[in-house]
Amino acid sequence: MVRIYTRKLYSVSIFLLAIIFLITAGCLHKVNVDESGNKAAEVIQCAGSDTIVNVAQAWAEKYKEVERNVSVEVSGGGSGIGIAGLINGTLDIANSSRKITAEEFEKVVKEREHEPIEHIVGYDALAVFVHKDNPLEEISLEELAEIYGEKGTIDRWSQLGVEMPPGRDKIIVTSRQSNSGTYFYFREVVVGKKRDFRLGTIDLHGSKEVAELVGRTINAIGYTGMGYVTPEIKMLRISKRKGEKAITASIETVLNGTYPVARPLLIYTCGQPPQHVQKFIDWIYMSEAQNLLRQSGFVPLKTEIAEAK
């Protein structure tokens, strides 16, 4: 009896050992293999801004055709995550829709011993929008600051001269979670550098969620990048002050600088990047990549590309 029992135990433990061995072996020998079965020689790790993530993924797809043995891995999470990855050294490229802060800059220098290098790859115009049935057409930055800012004075649609169905007069203010680059940029330009958002905004986890919620809610207002605007929502024209001319968000108004809520899209590398990364960045500036940028709803760097096609 005992012997049979022991033997069984033996075979079980040998089996377990074999499995453990196989798993460890599998981990050690992880290689990046592309579709054709060849080893992909280089991987570019790239993460950050949720605003840029869609276009970055489009670039990665296209770049596979340009450089067969370089694979670009893209993920989102927010500009803060991208820059944190740069500091930790886990990323080759950090996508960011805001400028790196002085504090973050110092951290990169301290941890990586290289200064981060900034590249402007395109422009993003923030669209402010309401439900498509909302009669409002334009709004000023001052009014937006009162809607969004801490202790702001506007919290009902009637204060903006908009008549809502009964019980819907309260403005439902949607915003982004506090690490989002879009959140930082909106706070800087609209709410004010030294002011905070009001409490009680609905902080959503992605640009798409904001557009979706406003599209479903008649008395809501929201902001995201221009690329996320859906047919359910209506972009507002924006003026700097009440009474001044309100500007429609479009490629032209962003490039000629009249649209007040536009920002550059940035990518950061840690010092001079290795050759395969530099090659990818150079490619981003070419018309093929810039066209993809335009198709994602952003504003390319040059007007010629905007006008082409």
Partner: protein
């Protein structure tokens, strides 16, 4: 039968391994507590303002001008969602436990138990997804409110998540009441209702209370589902149709982006310590209550 040297050695190692497994649980709990505490400690005993933390609703961790860490609104969010969940889940859970243990025919009982266990196994992100899509539009339609991501939505989702726990533990507690009690009551001419209300519930009350407390623990600790279903809005709710933000959702949403060992990072760990303390106290209470049952017997 003589045992070979090999089997003796073998047994020695197996014993050692099992011992290590047993001790490891204790080590893990203490290690978790130690590490959470260590991450938050230097801020907690430094610049941390406990009065602001517990009394101010102003949560501005990334402010440029005036950083404030007031967690009152977050605590209120967690409490409101949990309370609503318990108001819904306790009657349903205890009711289902009574049905399964007292009224149900044997075959139905087995099926029901399997189904309820299945309910407990649904991942929380799936619950969150249900809250975000189905419940959201249902609440908007039924109650004619602007937004369906609110206390009610989160409370319903959490209720559905904690009902299986309350049912399975509550049913065990009812089963533990000796059959002689039931037989004696029936012999005295008690109706079924009288048996349940006057005999079973008082006899099983410790076990049922433990079931409820474990359900509360589950509801407080839940993260993903409430993150998706409550609307994520910092405010002290004045009705069940207000969106809120909970303690757990705040950690989940913000921890990934904070720089390591920054103030913000440490404050999130202090929230973690707070949650740990709450669930620890609840579990401890449940434990003592369950022990109470055993001693009585």
């Amino acid at each position: 039968m003589k045992r070979s040297l090999l089997s003796k050695i073998n047994e020695y190692f197996i014993e050692l391994f099992i011992k290590a497994c047993g001790i490891s649980a204790v080590i893990f709990v203490f290690a978790i507590f130690y590490f959470i505490f260590r991450e938050g400690a230097s801020f907690m005993f430094g610049k941390f303002k406990p009065i602001e933390f517990f009394t101010s609703p102003e949560w501005y961790p990334t402010s440029q001008s005036h950083i404030r860490y007031g967690a009152l609104a977050l605590i209120a969010g967690t409490l409101s969602v949990t309370t609503l969940a318990m108001i819904i889940a306790v009657p349903f859970g205890i009711g289902a436990a009574i049905f399964i243990s007292e009224f149900c025919p044997l075959r139905v009982k087995e099926t029901l138990k399997i189904l309820i266990e299945l309910l407990a196994a649904i991942p929380s992100v799936v619950w969150g997804f249900i809250g975000l899509t189905i419940m959201n539009s249902l609440i908007i339609k039924i109650f004619d409110v602007a937004i369906g991501l609110n206390v009610l939505n989160g409370g319903l989702i959490l209720a559905m998540m904690s009902v299986p726990i309350i049912v399975s533990i509550g049913e065990d507690a009812l089963k533990a009441v000796p059959d002689t009690y039931r037989e004696a009551a029936e012999a005295m001419g008690a109706t079924r209702w009288q048996i349940i209300v006057r005999i079973l519930l008082p006899a099983a009350k410790n076990g049922l209370l433990a079931a409820v407390l474990l359900g509360v623990g589950r509801a407080i600790g839940e993260t993903m589902a409430v993150l998706m279903a409550t609307g994520h809005s910092i405010r002290i709710p004045s009705s069940i149709f207000d969106p809120v933000r909970t303690l757990t959702a705040t950690i989940a949403a913000e921890l990934g982006e904070t720089a390591e060992h920054s103030e913000h990072y440490q404050v999130l760990f202090i929230i973690g310590i707070l949650l740990f303390a709450i669930t620890f106290v609840i579990n401890l209470a449940a434990d003592f209550i369950v022990k109470g049952i055993k001693n009585k017997k």
